[in-house]
Symmetry: C2
Subunit: 434 residues, 2 copies
């Protein structure tokens, strides 16, 4: 009858209640930031038709898909990212949506990848998008939200940096250097992989992508640039440079200059980005990016929708959690219930259940032993449930119409009239909240 | 370049922000009830190894699975129910878990089924389980939680009924009528499908399962029973009858007698149930069950864990939403942001962003136009965002150090000092909350 305990699939996680306390802190920080910035939630299916991904997201995504067929033989794929679903949903409403949209989602996503630090096959992402604004003010608002999301998790300016560049600027520079438009696309994909490739391999790929030695020399110079001023000396007052400068100025108005930096090496792998791109890294760059995003002004149109500008970013829970652990950020775990109702010897279930249902009707979390146990065993269970309060119902107190409330942290005990339990507990919890 | 807007997969849903308002009301009611009853959240992977389902859940589940292979050729399946994952997780901790567990989850699940009213291929479920209590008090606590979950959604005693039976009682009755243990298992599966089969088809299947005419006659009599008293006359004081009576008495202590009824027709299809079983239906039984569950005392052991009793139930969001719509329950949609910051003519972005970041730092949701728009266009956007308040920053007021706050519902306007904005807004929202 029995068997060895089966394991969950590789690259996935079981979340026991103690894990949920940690994970829930990430989710609630995400939600709080999105609400503060006036973003609304949306969700989509956990899988999509395969073509949704293969047509627009570039080669890297394809290799990582969990693909399957439904019983009619249609190709489906577990979603590896949320943007194609978002673009499909926005496109499906055509011109009926009142722009700008400020939308967020916290999708669960799936990528069949080699597992390593900060990388699992099943993970969660925060996705934030502003749709309908071509101005750089939208990119600034998004980057500000990314920074406040990190701050709400407990990170400071010393912990992370938003590294910003612009695909438009790169394109303007590359084309000035003699590269074709198509060459630019291939170069982005290669540059995005730079950190993951051995230098010789990267250089080999680079000379394959850019065969002209003269062009290659110019591109090398571009990538040696550390600041926007360096690039200005190299390429003059290019239009995209002016936009990027405005972005940094606006982020200064948010008070976030310390959190952001220009980084020519940020290009993003996905094919659909069109303008400003950015990634969030821990200061030491010891891990993968914790967030990344940028402008994708042509994607919604490519999915058959109207031509609307869009910009967005995504942050993954796995790298964030790694970084939180490294920085010693560990949210407290609250009690399973606020109040453990303890039956003194001889108390009938009727009396216990009555108290429980009164408290629950008032929105106060409580539980009681479902077995007939002595008081000391009930207290052990109350401790296991981490309940901050215990009520003692029955006994001598009951004959006087009283109930004892015990603060399980301080040990303080007070007697209150039976009919005043709900009022007293409500008062205790509103005091604790302020 | 462009293409027709792609559709999402059949049987799945897109949740636009207005849909999330409805769905979020279901989720928050679920969470509120679970918290009030002292249940803790857990989660698991969205897919499991195929064997996890095929070995224990019976034939019906197998036909409905979305199955796929990973790149190493292992068979995986999108999860069609949560109980096998729960049992696997509990089993994996062996005797290290402090019992009883009071656990809940709100998994997204997948079943490849024919679509019909109240049934989709991708849906959400509330799962509530008490593990480690063999007493019927745990079944009562769970059924009470199911009832309070329905009440928190806005349903009343007139809207739904919990229909309760006991597999142990059925087994005791069937065996007394002359059926074998194995025959009982086959009969449960058949009885569970009774409502979905045409009467002739059901009778045909029944005579195939129970060939002995004498036994068949006795079983027919059992199913004609309307009350526990009828069954007592038929089978005497069977042990399971005493347990079932205690369950109804305990539910009376919760004040829930009006919500529950005995129903001999409730058996549940899944193979793993062992004792009390129940389903929640709308009063008219015009729809599928909105919730169902029961005792599964042997499952955790079957997954290689210790021998621990368990009882649980699940409620699906799709049928619940159908019933809510039928009863006219429609939660209100709140504003995208609490406060729309309006720039009066000539106000610089710096002044607007400063106000926004002060409010956001205080946890107050706000937004502003990311385009340079005149005041009337900004007001249109504030209405589209359904913001309950608008702030007007700049102009003559700014020269006096003042800012105008407008209540967008009543039209009331007040002037406050610029440095008092956060205090004023905080006060307005704490007033609204009480």
């Amino acid at each position: 009858m029995s068997m060895p305990v089966p394991a969950g699939p590789k690259g996935t996680r079981d979340f026991f209640p103690e894990d949920i306390a940690f994970q829930g802190f990430i989710f609630s920080s995400w939600e709080k930031t999105c609400a503060c910035y006036g973003f609304e939630p949306y969700e989509g299916p956990m899988f999509e038709h395969l073509e949704l991904y293969t047509q627009k997201s570039g080669v890297e995504i394809e290799e990582q898909l969990y693909v399957f067929k439904d019983k009619k033989g249609r190709d489906l794929a577990l979603r590896p990212e949320m943007t194609p679903t978002l673009a499909r949903m926005v496109a499906s409403r055509g011109t009926n949506l009142k722009l700008p949209l400020r939308w967020y989602s916290m999708p669960r996503l799936f990528r069949y990848e080699k597992m390593q630090k900060g990388r699992l096959r099943e993970f969660f992402q925060l996705n934030l998008d502003i749709i309908g604004i071509s101005e750089v003010s939208a990119d600034a608002e998004l980057i500000a939200a990314a920074i406040d999301m990190m701050r709400s998790l407990g990170f400071t300016a010393g912990d992370f940096k938003v590294r910003i560049s612009s695909r438009t600027l790169l394109e303007e520079l590359f084309i000035a250097a003699g590269l074709s438009k198509e060459g630019c696309g291939l170069l982005y994909a290669l540059l995005d992989k730079k950190a993951k490739l051995p230098p010789e391999k990267f250089n080999h790929e680079l000379t394959k992508t850019v065969s002209d030695k003269n062009v290659l020399g110019k591109i090398a110079k571009i990538f040696e640039s550390q600041t926007l001023e360096d690039l200005q000396r190299l390429g003059g007052n290019l239009p995209a440079l002016t936009v990027l400068k405005e972005l940094f100025e606006t982020l200064g108005l948010y008070g976030f200059s310390d959190y952001v930096t220009f980084d020519i090496g940020i290009v993003r792998g996905l094919a659909y980005y069109t303008g400003i791109v950015f990634e969030v890294f821990d200061t030491a760059k010891s891990m993968r990016a914790v967030a990344g995003g940028g402008r994708y002004d042509r994607l919604i149109e490519q999915y058959g929708g109207p031509s609307v500008p869009a910009t967005g970013f995504a942050a993954g829970d796995v790298v964030l959690a790694e970084l939180m652990r490294e920085k010693g950020i560990s949210p407290a775990r609250t009690g399973r219930s606020s109040c453990y109702i303890t039956a003194l010897d001889g108390t009938k279930p009727a009396d216990i259940i009555a108290v429980a249902q009164e408290l629950r009707a008032a929105g106060i979390s409580c539980e009681f032993s479902l077995k007939n146990l002595n008081v000391s065993k009930q207290m052990k269970n109350a401790n296991a449930a981490r309940s901050p309060y215990a009520l003692f119902v029955g006994g001598d107190e009951a004959r006087q119409g009283l109930v004892k409330i015990k603060n399980m942290t301080t040990g303080d005990e007070t007697m209150v009239p039976r009919y005043e339990i709900v009022n007293n507990m409500t008062r205790l919890f509103s005091l604790n909240l302020t």
